[in-house]
């Protein structure tokens, strides 16, 4: 039996096409994934992200624990509600998962990890926690809805009480606030402004339906994937995994090297890799010929395979095929070939960020 989120019935009622995603029955689309994509770029769309795993980290050593567990440094978080993106690494510096951690108090942090990696993440977190006075508890009583797009904040606020609106008024990017029974974070995975909102599971469908009535379009996983790829955001298990270091996945900015005396899991391996130069790097590709790049296709220069596409799609916003690819560090060509099925097609090398706030960057 696949897991079902608290919002499952709303998807069925909206005639969503349901697929298995990491053991969860999730909506792929509600008709046209392209229409859903455009709704997020131009207006407001919402995603059921309740399948993601919410973990409460509490205890007197919660901060010390997370400073050791994560490559980014939670000591940067001083304001309650402030969020941080980080990799959780193994000793070899490979990415066990990418996650967001919210600072609530010095003894209470909230961590959101991926659904597909839940079991190994919890096992790893528990294992590392043995050295600290800290408790790890999964939250299973919340639904989570991502409301994204240029009009997302306005439309989401339109279904909030005055008290809730006051609580989220002026919320800065990457900061969350408790608003009545909602936990509202100004974060997302689309390259657009918006909120990710935790709501008690029993009220999930009601809140979802209120948002729909306010003109927020239900969007499925298919649109979520094209939106995040246009925004140049990694998808775990595709763009990085335990065999890839953050330095090879455009996540170098998430490694807090300072202060130097902070040890964290994977630091030694990462420091060695940084000193020698990581063997591979992540690039963006824009296809110049007709076709569509897909995950797993080879990147070719002078008849030699120099890398592989980790995520590729047709970008609805730009009308072009875009991809992220991991290639040898030495590659400095501005143009490469990609083995797209039976043909080698020409692609331009760009920074892997293709669309931000509705505007094409390519």
């Amino acid at each position: 039996m696949a897991n079902k989120t608290p919002l499952y019935q709303a998807h069925v009622d909206a005639n969503a096409r349901i697929v298995d995603f990491g053991g969860w029955d999730m909506p792929l689309n509600y008709g046209s994934q392209i229409d859903e994509h455009h709704a997020v770029r131009q207006d407001a769309g919402m995603f059921d992200v309740s399948h993601m795993t919410v973990v409460e980290v509490t205890g007197s050593e919660a901060k010390a624990y997370l400073r050791y567990l994560l490559a980014n440094d939670v000591d940067k978080l001083k304001e309650s509600g402030k969020a941080l993106y980080s990799g959780m690494l193994n000793e070899e510096g490979g990415v066990i998962d990418d996650l967001i951690v919210y600072y609530l108090t010095d003894t209470h942090y909230r961590v959101v990890v991926n659904a597909s990696t839940r079991d190994k993440d919890l096992a790893w977190m528990e294992n590392v926690a043995q050295q600290f006075d800290v408790a790890i508890a999964e939250r299973v009583d919340v639904a989570m809805i991502a409301v994204q797009g240029p009009n997302a904040i306005e439309k989401a606020q339109s279904v909030m009480s005055d008290e809730q609106k006051n609580a989220v008024a002026g919320l800065k990017p990457f900061v969350a606030a408790q608003a009545g029974d909602l936990f509202v974070a100004r974060t997302g995975y689309t390259g657009e402004d918006g909120y990710e909102i935790m709501v008690p599971d029993s009220k999930g469908i009601e809140f979802w339906n209120q948002l729909a009535a306010a003109g927020v379009k239900p969007c499925g996983l298919a649109a979520r994937d094209t939106l995040r790829l246009e925004a140049g955001m990694n998808l775990y298990g595709h763009d990085m995994d335990e065999t890839v270091s953050p330095l090879e996945a455009n996540m170098g900015w998430t490694i807090a090297w300072e202060p130097e005396d902070r040890d964290f899991v994977g630091r030694k391996a990462l420091a060695e890799q940084k000193a020698q130069g990581a063997p591979r790097k992540m690039i963006g590709l824009v296809l110049e010929d007709k076709g569509i790049m897909r995950e797993g296709q080879e990147v070719v220069v002078n008849d030699e395979v120099v890398g592989v596409v980790t995520s590729g799609t047709m970008s609805p916003t730009t009308g072009k095929s875009i991809a992220m690819a991991r290639v040898n560090r030495e590659l400095n060509e501005e143009q490469v070939l990609v083995q797209v099925r039976k043909k080698q097609l020409s692609a331009k090398v760009v920074k892997p960020s293709f669309v931000r706030q509705g505007k094409s960057l390519i």
Partner: protein, 129 residues
């Protein structure tokens, strides 16, 4: 439920075949196939005048999500492709049995039509999926 017009023939790889007489057929993908694919964004059409064998991979339909091979339903020669699909591949979603047709071909042996699935047989096949 997807539509399966009774007057057409089918193959289990989800192409439909319309008999135009004189051994000429029109080929496209079924409503069921386009539903599985989702939004179609690119069609790599077969080459006009090329000779093909049954089950040859001769074209590709790509949705945002995935690429899908299109097979020649029978042996013959490609006569014409639907050039509208180059600029409007979404016709395959909106009208799979009409404006979304993919190509016309002249069969090597018009008698081969008898080997194709009826609408009823195709409906049974996809019900098993």
């Amino acid at each position: 439920m997807s539509q399966i017009p009774a007057e057409l023939k089918y193959v289990s790889s989800h192409e439909w075949i319309r008999d135009e007489g004189d051994g000429v057929v029109t080929v496209g993908i079924t409503d069921h196939a386009q539903e599985l694919l989702g939004d179609v964004v690119f069609v790599d059409a077969p080459e006009v005048d090329s000779e093909v064998e049954a089950e040859d991979e001769i074209a590709v339909v790509e949705s945002v999500k995935a690429a899908s091979d299109i097979y020649a339903p029978l042996a013959g020669t490609i006569l014409e492709i639907n050039e509208e699909l180059e600029d409007s591949p979404e016709l395959i979603n909106s009208d799979p049995y009409g404006d979304g047709w993919m190509f016309k071909m002249k069969l090597a042996d018009a008698g081969d039509m008898d080997s194709l699935l009826s609408a009823e047989e195709y409906a049974d096949e996809i019900a098993e999926d």
